[in-house]
Every structure is written in structure tokens, then in C-alpha cells.
Subunit: 403 residues, 2 copies
Amino acid sequence: MDPELIRRLSIPADTKVVLCVLDGLGGLPGPRGRTELEAADCLHLDRLAEEGMIGQTLPVGYGITPGSGPGHLGLFGYDPLEVEVGRGVLEATGIDFPLGPNDLTARGNLCTVDADGNITDRRAGRLATEITGEIAQQLSGIELPGYEALVQEVREHRFVLVLRPLDGSAALSEALTETDPQREGAPALLAEALAPDAGPAVEVVNRFASEARARIGERETANQVLLRGWSRLPDLPQLPELWKLRAAAVATYPMYRGLARLVGMDVLDAGDSLATQVATVRERWDDYDFFFVHYKPTDAAGEDGDFARKQQAIAAFDDCMPELLALDPNVVVVTGDHSTPATMAAHSWHPVPALIWGDHVRPDDTHRFGERECAHGGLGTIPAKELLPIAFAHAGRLTKFGA
Amino acid sequence: MDPELIRRLSIPADTKVVLCVLDGLGGLPGPRGRTELEAADCLHLDRLAEEGMIGQTLPVGYGITPGSGPGHLGLFGYDPLEVEVGRGVLEATGIDFPLGPNDLTARGNLCTVDADGNITDRRAGRLATEITGEIAQQLSGIELPGYEALVQEVREHRFVLVLRPLDGSAALSEALTETDPQREGAPALLAEALAPDAGPAVEVVNRFASEARARIGERETANQVLLRGWSRLPDLPQLPELWKLRAAAVATYPMYRGLARLVGMDVLDAGDSLATQVATVRERWDDYDFFFVHYKPTDAAGEDGDFARKQQAIAAFDDCMPELLALDPNVVVVTGDHSTPATMAAHSWHPVPALIWGDHVRPDDTHRFGERECAHGGLGTIPAKELLPIAFAHAGRLTKFGA
């Protein structure tokens, strides 16, 4: 649904909606011809499918394999083809870095260059995260005219660079080239402008790179930086404002907390397990109208190609459903942000099983929550971005269009 | 289908299409877990479903609850998100008021104000329609420079105001604010311009309001007017021209006759019952290629929350099918303009059951006309605006695209 239309039709209501995202939920047949979800013991989800309506979501489009960013933006009701979150911003949100609207952000690599300045290892031997942390502290001190450089380690050789304007300086443009030549044997590149107004950005970025080289050039390895994925916070209409509700994210992984923060959700302290997540939802039940519960183990097992573990992870989520349902939500949605079939050990383009249960749901002829049943469920196969509007309609949060 | 494409591909043919709109047809499970349609005794519709193809229509979009205007515009093949019919125009069409293309129209309320001009009752005690009629006659005489004021009662305190240019005056802009403060204790507002060219409209409207006050201000109640929903006839490509055919509306309620008139259908005198409607179709069978038959009792019962009555209304429509089929139509479509589940006693966002029967229909695996069967029918779940093009294709009224 178009944001302007949402703004026009959304109304407050005294109802609760819970969106459960089992990351990478969709799968492919494994042993005995059943998918991970079909093979999993899902007493409660099957009951919700029986009473409710199931179908499939298409995260981005036919044949498109989504990353976590587009996958979640779709579930939050945005068109992932229109709203792109840059790599730098995604990396920063992934480490809970509090980005501001004027920050220019990049993903950085520490690399190793030889005496001539040619790259010998683009990943600096995947050095220990702690060492990257120490180097990040050194780089954070770099002074740039009008801008502050904030550097924070991510993992191994990876870090995030944030260039923040000091009082009075303008936000830097993201329209500039990357400094990573994407191959070894070549030197790091100078950033170049991709738009007329990117001149200041080019100057600041190249100044940062040369200052960085000055500070860490004496090191044998990890003695240079490569910068990619220039981006700024997207200017997204915020979910609570669009829908006139209070929205909370209950996620254990920083990436998903960051994505939720991008659309304006309050990010709750949810501990580090499904049990603490469910407890968080219970404790904060009265404070919010909408809860986004993110569950990572399904995707992690799928990425590892571990069919049995993904199957168990789904069953473990099913076990928590009675506790969530005991809170008496009006509408519950269970789906994934994309498929991660264990047989592929990777994200895939396959549609994702989806389930809507609650007030005013028109039941269909299906009885179990699984890929094959979802393919002919009453919900049909719909763009993921339509799922939240449908859920909010069931929760009485959309008024009539036209007389 | 895009109007330009329709114009390009539509061809005349010696075929008849009947579109039966059971208003608010879609429902939700009630007693014994069946919907109104599933529970209704529909021998004939079930046979059409068996022989034909069923599916679901989405009137406006996912999660969107349509009013009657958008619901019907979709069924007539227009995109309800692109073609909006304003409140004033809809109110006027609802009383069969013959609007012209240059008329500016508003919905009016008679209200009661105190000696200080503050509203004490926005609905003037919901006075009798007859009295509103008398007041409307008084107000219709108001002289405005360059414009004629036409006022006609609707029901209780509601009336329609039409400002029509006299020879030589331009159509007035609809870009102006409403004069209804939407609360009591405040005075009626002056209209203000929302666009640079709305100056003349503001002048005429405020002049009308003050003249009205002068004429009815002596009354104890119903002594002031409130004006809302400024609108003009939408400039719609006309259905007979687009499709190269003769189209007739057979409806007993003025609102639906008005909507049909907006898209260029001939509005037939159809009596006040389904029996007279069917008789009208029979009598005029040779004069038209397309008949829109509108049936209101399903929606009325749904709005009243009367499951049994809605079920019976559907069965009553089913009873008339043999008479319609005896006319030997080439294609029959049966659907609704939206869902009105009796359990909700209101319009809803749920998709609407749809059935296509006739020449060249590819049958599907379904056997009964009901929500659950429709959810996996061969037609799929399609935007309502695509239903008429599909029906006309079956009737040989769309030629090949490309060589």
C-alpha cells in the first residue's frame, strides 16, 4: 500500500498485532521429500493455519533472492525495490551504531599493502576483531576539516566508518566511488565524485584515507583502509507515524534491531534467547500495539545447510506460541523474510510461507503450515509488503476507502 | 486494463454479457462455520461454478475496505485508486440528480446555531426529510452572480448543493475547504481556497452560505447550512465508447444508477424488485450488449448483521438465475463490489467471490460457489478491475494484441 494511502486510511484502535519473523523460514524438500517446515513438529502453528489463513509472500519479486535488508523492509510494509538501504548503513545498523540523518557511512576493510602501496591481502589475513577494534580507536581520532570520523570494528577485518558533520558543516554526499579496487596487486583507489555536489565528500574521504595510512602505515599487515558502500540513512516514512500506533522490535541480533530502528520502531532490550524475547513481549504488552519478533536460528541453520537443525529451530519456535497466544493478541502473523533452504545453504528466491490468524480472518481449506499447503492457501501468493496492511486491516486499523 | 489498450483492442461482437453484482456478497463464517454464501441454497450458482470458473476479486487493494463508489468503479473496469468520485458527487448520484460536467457539488447538512452563531446541533435534530425538502426549495432560489444554486433534500438533515454556472461563467474549482467545523459550540466556517484558482469558488460558496443564513436564520432549528465534500464529476472515459458496445444498468437504488451513469451506461427503469429487474433485462435484451444488474439485499442484510437474511437474499438471487440464463447470454459474471460479512455488520477488506460462466470459459476443479472454493479457483485472486476485461474477452470483444 502506498504510504500516502496508509496515512489517509490508518486509524488508531485498541488492538494488538504480533509479527513473528522466522528468518529464512522457507525451505526445500530434504529427507523423505518434506521441507524443513513440513517436517517440523508444529502443533500450534498447524492449529493457527487450520483456524486462520495461509499463503505465500514474495519478498521482493519473482525470482529475486533478498538480503536481510530488503526482506525485512518488505515485511515492514515498504517496497524493497524503492527503498534501498545502502551497505554502509546496513553494516552500521548491524552493530547498533546510532546513525544520525547527516552521517555518511561506509563499510571498511583493513587490508595489507606492500612497500609500493599495492594490495597484497584485501582482508589483512582476516585479523582478530580485537585488533581491528584497537585500530578503529586509532582511526577515530583522525581530524578532518568540518567533519568527525567515527570508526568502529565489526568483525575480523571489517569496520564501519561514519563521517559526521561538525556544527555548521553540510551532510556529505553519498555519490562517490569506492576506494576498493576489488583485486590484489593494485593500490587503493582515490574516491571520485559521481555527482556535481560530491566534491566535499571526495575531499573528506580521500583525506581520511591518507590520514589513516599515515597512522597505521607502519604496521606490517592491516596497514591501509578500503572503503565501500557509501550511504546515508534512508528517509523512510516512520511506521508509528504512518500507522498511528506504538511499535516495538524484539530481536536478539543487532542487524534486525537496526532495521526496525530505521522504520521508527522502539527497540526493546530482549535478551539473547527466544525465552527472553517472549518474556519481553509479555512485560511490555501494554506499552505497544505492534510487536515485531525476530527469530534467527532458522536462517542460521539453513545457511549452515543443516536441515535437521532448521527443522528443530522451527519446532522450538512453535513451542513458544502458546505463551504468545496467552497474551490474547488480536492478530498474529507468522512468516519469514526470505527462504533459506538447507539444501542450498543460502538465501533463495522462493516464496515464503505466511500465516495470518486472529480477528475477522476468513479461514481457508488448509490444515497445516507448510510450503505445499501455503501454495494454495486463501491468502494467495502476495507481495510481502502487503502482509502488514492486511494484518492491520484485520486489527481494525484501516478505515473505509471512499463512500 | 489500461483505457488506451481497451480502446485499441476492443471490437464489436454479436454477444451479450451480464454482470450480476450482489452487493456486499463476500462474508465470513457464521453458524456451523460456513459463510453466508456457503450456507445459502444456490443450486444454479453452484452449477455455474461447476461448469465455469471461479476466483476472488480484490476491489481496491490488499487490506482496503471499499465504499460503494470504489467497489463499483473497479467492477466497471476502472482503477478505483486513480478515479476517485468525491463525496458531493456521490451524494448527488445517490438521489439521481442529473449533474453536469461544470457543476460544483457539496453534501450539505442543516444544522442549528444559537444567537451567537455557534452550532448547538450539527444535524438539526435529524429533522424530517419533508421539512428539509421545504427548506431546500427556499434555498434553491438563492441568486448568486454568475451561478445558479440548486438544492435538493437527501434524507433527514442532509441535502445536496449544486452550483451551476450560468451562461458564460466558468466551472468553479473544487479546491476549497469545508464549512463544517465538525464539532458543536463553534460557528460554521468560511470556505477557504486550497488552490490559486479557487478564489471565485470561495466567493460564491460563502455568498451562498450567508444568503442561506439570511433566508432560514429566523427558524429555531435548522437555521444554518454546513457544506462538505466539494467535488465535480470525474472525467471518466465512457464504457460504451471504450468497449464499443451498448451498456445498460438495471438497478433499483439511485446510488448504483448514478455510478453506472458516471461511466456512460444507459440507466433503465427497473422497478423496485429483483423480479422487475429481471423483467427489464428480458424486455430490453435486444437493445444492449452489456447489462449491469445490481442487487442490494445482500449488502443491506450484511450491514444489519443479519446472517440468515443475507443467506436468504443470496438464495433469492439464485432463484432468478434460470430466468436470466433463459435469455441465452454468452457470458455471465456473478460477484460483489466488496464483502459485507454479517458477523462484522460492515463493509470489509476481504476479497470477493467471483464467477465467470459462458462461452470459452476454461473450467477449474471447483464445484460450488463459496469463499473457500473461490480462494483456490482457476480465476485466482485478481484486481476487480480486470474482471470485466476477462468477461469481454470471453465474449469475443477483445482482439489479438500484436501480430
